[in-house]
Point group: C2
């Protein structure tokens, strides 16, 4: 990708993509640099001008790394699955709910599928979907394109329609100062005791355990594992993207797992696991997942080809995960 | 307001607020400057670092001046009316609708009032609400706080609940290159022939003329005047914030005006009209409005104290305008 910025009096300009070319100033005061060949999909970045790290004034802004900043979309060969098409669209709704445990009004985004406003008798299953570290409740709707992914899957008949709820998951991190002190219990309370009842009373949900799922990316997958395994009376489908996995040991030590969990989905970008120099996250995810399947658990593993710990991996993960959700239960309920 | 930015190697730093102090670098490489005393409310701004005009990395980002950039909220003595309170909240919904006339999927934001998801029999009047030049469909929901203003008014019983629809109004400007070539007919078609039917088929609206209003700020008020006067079969309530006014001549030359128009609301910031050196916009708005009232038209004029052509004027305008909308018609319909 080429980056241009007008900075006639600057002495040096650079960007946060490693291995970028040196930026050179042309005779109009425009600095031009070229990044290395970037993976397909979405990337956060910043520009540095004489030591000041700033957003690119020519970009749109997204929340990542604990602040609003620039992001770029590198066209992907498979971008069709999250592109805007002339199909029925759902709605992405910003909702505000009061949280007694944190004594504040909190924000969530709620995706309702196409048709939600037409057939007012119909009720829907719900997926609670979490962002990663340093991101927030905007992530899945904005850079994640969760709504478009769902609209397109539904238009093609590939998934049952369901509601998606996205809220801020770093509840205690903000207060305590850093991941080292992160304690899941604050977020767990907000999600399970406050947000779930709010959603069930403000949306036409199917509010029983078989119709409630949770998934998350990176830190959100850790939260998903911790919360779902502790509340199997409330969640039946589990999605872990680029982070946690569930092992046979987890199953054995979690009472009721075999009866209550209808799906374990684990995914990674291919550049996250194996391969030279790639970090191996979450133990042995593929082996773990196979182990679960051998033990009779409905368990799936997905590896996103050619992507790293980034949004293209998670968009594809949602595309793969959604069709497996509520596949039989929804039939029964409707 | 004090602005700080880390820029250790910069030669000069400034900001876009006129009459700001010179920025001075401290021994840690932080440049610090102070703006003049700013009017209460919301302001767009940029920072300039060695000739590069960039957003402030410490701000949130808003769309204005045809791009996403920094905005700052100066606490206002009356900010309580758009603050987040523990009251029932409506939803701000992002919807995508296909527009045949522009051959693309377009975005709108739709505010639905608290209770919309509880009583599924109830239908609501609709206000179409437009942003100003260089802004977009995010403006009223983000920097305008339209949702919070309505939530608070409704909680206090000061306004009837209604739906607000906000979409992008510079439809032809984008294509044609600049306001000089702006032709209302493209946006008029999108709004009247495409968006209104979409909203009426996807939301529980009262879809007759008495229950449909339009308002806008600045350029949006020009659009509102042009579109409502041409489509009095569709719109009954008219709000003009900081821009257009309607004169006795307009009434006389517009067939059916006296029968069909139930409200004309005109507003300005006090710093926009009269006063030394202040621009006098839209002719003689107060005199025009009084002239309409003398002629028997339900007409109201509001002057926002101490504010200019900025969002604080428009937030207050919505607060004043909303309670006058659908005041009697809603009773009849429900």
């Amino acid at each position: 990708m080429q980056i241009q910025i007008v900075a006639p009096d600057a002495k040096s300009v650079s960007c946060s993509f490693r291995d970028s070319s040196e930026f050179v100033k042309d005779d109009k005061g425009v600095w031009i640099g070229t990044t290395r060949s970037l993976d397909e999909g979405f990337h956060y970045y910043t520009i540095k001008i004489d030591g000041a790290e700033v957003p690119d004034p020519n970009s749109k802004y997204f929340f990542g790394a604990m602040r609003w900043g620039s992001g770029v979309e590198v066209p992907a060969k498979d971008e069709e699955f999250y592109s805007v098409k002339n199909v029925p669209h759902g709605q992405l709704r910003e909702v505000l709910f009061f949280s007694a445990s944190t004594d504040m009004t909190r924000r969530a985004f709620v995706y309702t599928p196409p048709g939600y406003e037409q057939d007012l008798e119909k009720r829907y299953p719900v997926l609670y979907l979490q962002h990663g570290w340093g991101e927030n409740e905007y992530g899945w709707g904005a850079q994640g394109h969760a709504g478009l992914i769902m609209d397109n899957l539904i238009a093609e008949g590939k998934t049952k329609p369901f509601i998606i709820v996205m809220t801020y998951g770093m509840t205690s991190d903000i207060r305590m100062g850093g991941m080292a002190n992160f304690d899941i219990k604050h977020f767990e309370k907000v999600l399970v005791e406050e947000l779930v009842p709010y959603i069930d009373s403000h949306f036409r949900t199917l509010s029983d355990q078989p119709h409630r799922a949770m998934a998350g990316l990176s830190m959100g997958s850790m939260e998903t594992k911790a919360i779902t395994l502790k509340h199997l009376d409330k969640f039946s489908h589990i999605g872990l993207f680029s982070g946690a996995t569930i092992s046979k040991e987890d199953v054995d030590k979690t009472e009721g797992f075999r009866d209550k969990v209808k799906l374990v989905f684990v995914s990674y970008g291919s550049k996250e696991v194996g391969g030279a120099g790639a970090p191996r996250r979450g133990g042995e995810p593929e082996a773990n997942t196979k182990g679960l399947r051998d033990a009779g658990i409905n368990s799936h593993y997905y590896l996103s080809p050619g992507t790293a710990h980034e949004w293209q991996t998670w968009r594809r993960s949602l595309r793969e995960f959604a069709p497996m959700l509520f596949a039989s239960e929804t039939e029964k309920a409707n």
